[in-house]
C-alpha cells in the first residue's frame, strides 16, 4: 500500500526556475523495505528533475514488474506512470515515445526484469536507440519473491540462505556498450554525488541513456559473501571519474578529484564535465571502455561513472524520420486521405 504524504511544506524551501520546490517532484511514500537502495535512486531522480527544472507532467515513467518497477510510484507524483508487465517495459516505452516524442521518458527496471525475462526487449531497445533514461536498479536478486539469485548475481556470490551462485553474471553495462547504446553509466545507490549528475546528463542525452545502478537489497542480499551488499560495493567501487552535468548557460563545475579533465558536449548546448581518474580510458572510445570494464572485472572492481557516450547517433524517432509534431496530436485532416482520394484508390482495384 502507498501512503499519502502531508501536503504541508516549509515556505522557505528552495525553488527552481519553474518556481517548484522539491515537493512537486516527490511521489507517494515508499513501501519498500527500510534502507532499500531503490529509495535512494528515487530520491536522486527527484533531485535531478528538480535541478533541471523539468515540468513534472511532461515526464512519463514506465516500468516492468518487481521491487524496482514499483518505484515510479515513489517519485514524480504529477507524472503519468505505467507499471506494465514483467520484462516488457522497453516495448511499452517504445510505443509511448513514438506517440509523443516531446516527453522525458524514464524506463525503470531491475536485474530480473531486464537481464532475465526482459533480455530480449532490453537488447532491442538499445539497438533502436530509443530516447529514454533507462535505469536498472540492480541488486542481484529477486526481492519481491524473496531473494532468489538473479542473472546479474556474480559467480561465487553468497545469498542469504548461504548458497553460492554457480553461474556467470550478465554484465548489463558491458553488454549495453557492445550493443551500441549511446550513453552508458554505472553507479551505486549510495553515491548521490555521482548519481544525480549522471541522471541529469542521461535526461539531457538525446538517445538511449542506460544507467546500471548497484542497489543493495537490504533484506535478501546484504549478507556477508554477497557481492551486491553495501559493504562489498563500498569496498570494491572504483569511480572512473567525478563528473558534473552542466545545463546550457549555467555552468557549475566541480573539480574534486585529480587527473585530467574531459568535456562532452551535448547537442542542446549542455556539457558534461568529467574528471578522469583512469588515464587509459576515453568515454567516447568504445574500445577503451570495454578494456577498462574487463580490467576492472579481473581486479574485482566495480567501475562507476559515465562509461561511454556518443551523441552523434540518431534516436529512433529521427531514424524513422517522424514529423515534428507528436503523432498523438495529429488530427483527421493530417491522417485521413479523404473521401475523394478513396475513389482513386478504388479505381486502382478495378
Amino acid at each position: 500500500m502507498s501512503y499519502l504524504k502531508p501536503l504541508f511544506s516549509h515556505p522557505k524551501l528552495p525553488k527552481n526556475k519553474l518556481g517548484y520546490t522539491l515537493k512537486e517532484y516527490e511521489g507517494s511514500l515508499s513501501t519498500l523495505c527500510a534502507g532499500c537502495g531503490h529509495d535512494s535512486i528515487s530520491a536522486a531522480i527527484v533531485r535531478a528533475c528538480f535541478e533541471l527544472s523539468i515540468e513534472p507532467h511532461l515526464v512519463a515513467k514506465i516500468s516492468g514488474i518487481g521491487c524496482s518497477s514499483k518505484t515510479p510510484t515513489y517519485f514524480l507524483g504529477n507524472s503519468h506512470g505505467f507499471n506494465s508487465v514483467h520484462g516488457r517495459m522497453p516495448s511499452v516505452a517504445t510505443g509511448a515515445n513514438m506517440a509523443n516524442k516531446e516527453l522525458v521518458y524514464f524506463g525503470v527496471s531491475g536485474d530480473g526484469d531486464s537481464a532475465s525475462i526482459g533480455m530480449g526487449q532490453f537488447v532491442h531497445v538499445i539497438r533502436r536507440n530509443l530516447n529514454i533514461v533507462y535505469v536498472v536498479m540492480n541488486n542481484g536478486c529477486y526481492g519481491l519473491t524473496k531473494g532468489q539469485d538473479s542473472a546479474t548475481a556474480d559467480r561465487g556470490s553468497k545469498n542469504k540462505s548461504g548458497s553460492v551462485n554457480p553461474f556467470e553474471a550478465i554484465d548489463l553495462a558491458s553488454m549495453a556498450i557492445e550493443l551500441g547504446a549511446s550513453f552508458v553509466a554505472q553507479s551505486f545507490s549510495g553515491d548521490k554525488q555521482q548519481l544525480i549528475p549522471l541522471l541529469k546528463a542521461a535526461i539531457q542525452h538525446p538517445g538511449f541513456a542506460f544507467i546500471n545502478v548497484i542497489s543493495p537489497c537490504v533484506t535478501f542480499n546484504n549478507n556477508p559473501g554477497s557481492t551486491k551488499s553495501y559493504d562489498y560495493v563500498r569496498e570494491h567501487i572504483e569511480a572512473t571519474s567525478a563528473l558534473d552535468f552542466v545545463p546550457v548557460k549555467k555552468e557549475i563545475r566541480v573539480n574534486y578529484a585529480e587527473g585530467a579533465s574531459a568535456e562532452v558536449g551535448l547537442h542542446d548546448g549542455s556539457k558534461i564535465h568529467l574528471n578522469k581518474l583512469s588515464m587509459d580510458w576515453d568515454p567516447e572510445d568504445r574500445i577503451s571502455v570495454v578494456n577498462a570494464l574487463q580490467n576492472a572485472k579481473v581486479k574485482e572492481e566495480i567501475l562507476t561513472g559515465l562509461l561511454y557516450v556518443n551523441t552523434d547517433w540518431k534516436d529512433l524517432s529521427r531514424t524513422l524520420n517522424i514529423t515534428d509534431s507528436p503523432l498523438n496530436r495529429l488530427k483527421e485532416s493530417d491522417l485521413c486521405p479523404g473521401t475523394e482520394e478513396l475513389q482513386h484508390i478504388n479505381e486502382g482495384f478495378r
Binding site: L58, S91, G120, N328
Partner: protein, 611 residues
C-alpha cells in the same frame, strides 16, 4: 453437349517461384474486367521456391464467391503434382499439360479430355533469355485459355499494357507469348470448350482486392499512427500495405512521416509498443496470426485490465501450434475472445469482404478508444491473401474519429478529484487522460495490478470486486456499440436457422439458396461482432435448431454462444470444415441435410443390434 456460360472452375498447378502467380492473376483479372463474378484462390506452400502451388478460379454468373469442389479445367505445369492433379479433374473435364515431354501413360484417364500444348518448347523457340522463357511460358497457357474459354482479347491486352506500363519490350514479349498460345489452339483444337466465358455487366462499381490490403488501408483511414508488428504468414501483407499507403498519404511538406512503422523483435514487443502508444494517446495497431496471438496474450490481459485501447488484426491460419501456416481456418476465436489469464474477454469483429476489412479496421480504432480496451479484427488467410470481388471502399465526408472519453486541460481544471477508474456515467467506461495534459491534475499510475477508482494500488477485495463488476458493465455497454448481426428471414417462417461469420459467409449463403431450391427454408444470421448483441440472443431464442457454420474442429463459435447466451447446447448444431481449405456450400448443405434426415428418421440400428 450443352454449353455452360460463366459457370466453371479452373485450377492451375504450378511450381512456386516461377512467376506463375502474375500470369494466373492476369487470367482472373481479365474475367473480372469482363464483368463476370470470379473468385481466385491461391493455394500455396510455406516455402519460397520449388514446391507445388495451385491457383483456383471459380467463375460464377450467379455471383457465388465461395469455394466449390469439382475442377472443370486443370492447367498442369508442375510434374511434381501431376499424378494428383490428373485425378482431381471432374469426369468430362479437361486437362491441359505441357506436351514438351510426353505424358506419362499412368496419368491417362478415359473420362477426361487431354489438351497437350508444348509450352516449354514454344517458349524456348521464341525467347532467348532463360528467365524470360520461364515467365512467358505461363503467358502461353493463358493465351491458349483466351481461345479455349473465349476470353476477351482486348481486355487481356489492356491489362498486360497496364501491368508493364512504360516497358514496351516487355509488353511486346507478353503479347507475342499470348498470340503463340492462341494460335496453337486455333491450329490444333476445337474451341471454345463446352463451358466458356461471355462478357457481362455484373460487376459495376465493384473492386478486386485482397483483405490484407483493405485492412492496411483501413488503418490509414482510421488514423493509426503506429504499426508495430512481427513478420508472420498470412498477416505480413497487412504491414506491407499499411507502409506503402503511408508512404503515399502520410508524408508532411518536409518529407517527414506522419506515422511510425516498427518491425518488432517478436510479437510480445509488437503488442507492447501498441499498448504504449495507445496509452499515450496515439492510435496504434498490430497484425498477426494465431501464434502471435498466443504470444500477445499477456499484453492483451493488461490492455483489458488497465483499460488501454489496442487494435489487433488476426489473419487466422490453421493451428494448433505452427499448424498449416499457409492454409485458412477460423480457429483463433476462443484464443482471441478470452486471451490471457484471469477473467478476461475481448471484442472481436468479423469482416467477410475486403470492404468490411477496410470498414471494420477503421471502426476497430473507434471502438477500442470508446471502450478503452483491445479490439480484434478477425480475418483469415482466405480473406486476407486472396483477391475478392468486393463493393468499393467508402468513407463518409468529414467523418470524425471517435476518440472516447478523454479529459482535456480545461476539463481537468473544472472537475474535482480525478478518478481514472471512476464510473461517472454509469456505462462502465471511465475517463482517460493522456500524459502531459495538465501540470498538477490528471496524472495517474496505470498498472496491471488491482486498483481503486483513483488508480491507487489496492488489495482490498471489495475494491477489486467493484472494478471487476464495472468491467462487466462496460462489456454490456460494448454489446450496444459493436456492429449488429445481419439477419435474413426466409420467405416462409422457419424454425431453422443458420449462423455464420467471416469467410464462411459466401458459402453459407450459397448453401442457403441450394437448400431453398430443395425445399428447405432457413433463416440466417451473420455475426459481425463479439460480444453478441440482443438481436443474436433473440435469433437463437426464436429458432428450434441453429446450424453454426465455422471453419475449425472444435466448433468454437458454438461454444462461445453456449457460454455467453446461456442457451441449450443441443439446439446449436455444429457445421464444420477444418481441412485448411475454404469451406464450400456443398459441405454445408450436405451436413445440414444429413442432420435433418437423422432427426426425422430416428436411428433404430442400436436396438436391432441388441435383438
Amino acid at each position: 453437349m450443352k454449353t455452360r456460360i460463366n459457370d466453371f472452375i479452373v485450377r492451375f498447378a504450378n511450381v512456386n517461384g516461377t512467376g506463375s502467380a502474375s500470369a494466373n492473376y492476369l487470367f482472373a483479372k481479365t474475367i473480372f474486367r469482363m464483368g463476370i463474378p470470379v473468385t481466385p484462390k491461391n493455394i500455396f506452400p510455406s516455402n519460397i521456391q520449388g514446391l507445388p502451388t495451385w491457383y483456383e478460379v471459380r467463375v460464377s454468373e450467379k455471383g457465388y464467391l465461395g469455394r466449390r469442389e469439382g475442377i472443370d479445367l486443370m492447367i498442369s505445369v508442375n510434374p511434381q503434382s501431376m499424378a494428383k492433379d490428373v485425378q482431381s479433374v471432374k469426369p468430362g473435364g479437361y486437362f491441359i499439360y505441357d506436351s514438351t515431354k510426353k505424358l506419362n501413360p499412368d496419368y491417362e484417364r478415359a473420362d477426361i479430355h487431354y489438351l497437350g500444348i508444348p509450352m516449354m518448347e514454344m517458349a524456348t523457340k521464341a525467347f532467348e533469355d532463360p528467365r524470360k522463357r520461364q515467365l512467358l511460358k505461363n503467358i502461353i497457357y493463358v493465351g491458349a485459355l483466351v481461345r479455349l474459354l473465349d476470353m476477351d482479347q482486348q481486355t487481356i491486352r489492356e491489362l498486360i499494357s497496364e501491368q508493364f506500363e512504360g516497358k514496351k519490350a516487355l509488353i511486346e514479349a507478353n503479347f507475342q507469348a499470348l498470340t503463340l498460345g492462341m494460335e496453337f489452339v486455333e491450329k490444333n483444337y476445337d474451341f471454345p470448350l463446352s463451358f466458356r466465358l461471355e462478357k457481362r455487366n455484373l460487376l459495376e462499381n465493384k473492386i478486386l482486392v485482397d483483405g490484407n490490403t483493405a485492412c492496411g488501408l483501413g488503418a490509414v483511414y482510421g488514423g493509426a499512427t503506429l504499426m508495430a508488428w512481427y513478420p508472420i504468414t498470412p498477416s505480413t501483407s497487412v504491414a506491407e500495405a499499411f507502409e506503402s499507403f503511408c508512404e503515399k498519404y502520410r508524408r508532411d511538406e518536409d518529407g517527414k512521416n506522419k506515422y511510425a512503422f516498427i518491425q518488432a523483435e517478436d510479437e510480445l514487443a509488437a503488442m507492447g509498443m501498441v499498448i504504449g502508444a495507445n496509452w499515450n494517446g496515439a492510435r496504434a495497431f498490430t497484425a498477426t496470426s494465431g501464434p502471435g496471438v498466443s504470444l500477445m496474450s499477456e499484453f492483451l490481459g493488461l490492455g483489458y485490465f488497465a483499460e488501454v485501447p489496442a487494435v489487433l488484426i488476426d489473419v487466422q491460419r490453421a493451428g494448433p501450434s505452427t499448424g498449416m501456416p499457409t492454409r485458412t481456418q477460423q480457429s483463433d476465436l476462443l484464443a482471441a475472445g478470452y486471451a490471457s489469464h484471469g477473467d478476461t474477454k475481448h471484442i472481436l469483429l468479423f469482416p467477410a469482404s475486403p470492404k468490411e476489412c477496410f470498414e471494420l479496421t477503421a471502426e476497430a480504432f473507434d471502438l477500442a478508444e470508446q471502450l478503452q480496451t483491445p479490439v480484434f479484427v478477425m480475418t483469415d488467410l482466405d480473406l486476407g491473401m486472396n483477391d475478392h470481388v468486393s463493393d468499393p471502399f467508402e468513407w463518409e465526408k468529414e467523418r470524425k474519429y471517435q476518440r472516447g472519453k478523454v479529459l482535456t486541460t480545461e476539463d481537468l481544471e473544472n472537475i474535482g478529484k480525478y478518478g481514472r477508474y471512476l464510473d461517472s456515467d454509469g456505462d462502465g467506461i471511465p475517463y482517460r487522460t493522456y500524459p502531459g495534459t495538465h501540470p498538477t491534475k490528471g496524472a495517474f499510475f496505470t498498472r496491471g495490478t488491482s486498483k481503486d477508482e483513483y488508480a491507487a494500488y489496492t488489495e482490498d477485495g471489495a475494491a477489486y470486486k467493484r472494478n471487476m463488476d464495472r468491467l462487466t458493465l462496460k462489456w454490456n455497454t460494448a454489446k450496444t456499440l459493436v456492429p449488429n448481426a445481419l439477419i435474413q428471414h426466409s420467405d416462409t417462417s422457419s424454425s431453422l436457422g443458420i449462423l455464420y461469420f467471416g469467410t464462411s459467409t459466401f458459402s453459407s449463403e450459397e448453401a442457403r439458396d441450394i437448400l431453398s431450391e430443395e425445399g428447405i427454408q432457413v433463416d440466417s444470421l451473420r455475426l459481425k461482432a463479439f460480444p453478441f448483441g440482443k438481436e443474436v440472443e433473440d435469433f437463437v431464442e426464436s429458432h428450434r435448431v441453429i446450424f453454426v457454420i465455422e471453419q475449425n474442429r472444435d466448433a468454437q463459435m458454438r461454444k462461445m454462444i453456449v457460454m455467453e447466451l446461456n442457451c441449450h447446447p443441443q439446439k446449436l448444431v455444429p457445421i464444420l470444415n477444418y481441412d485448411g481449405m475454404p469451406i464450400t456450400a456443398d459441405a454445408i448443405k450436405s451436413q445440414i441435410v444429413s442432420y435433418l434426415n437423422t432427426e426425422s428418421n430416428p436411428n433404430h440400428e442400436l436396438s436391432k443390434a441388441t435383438v
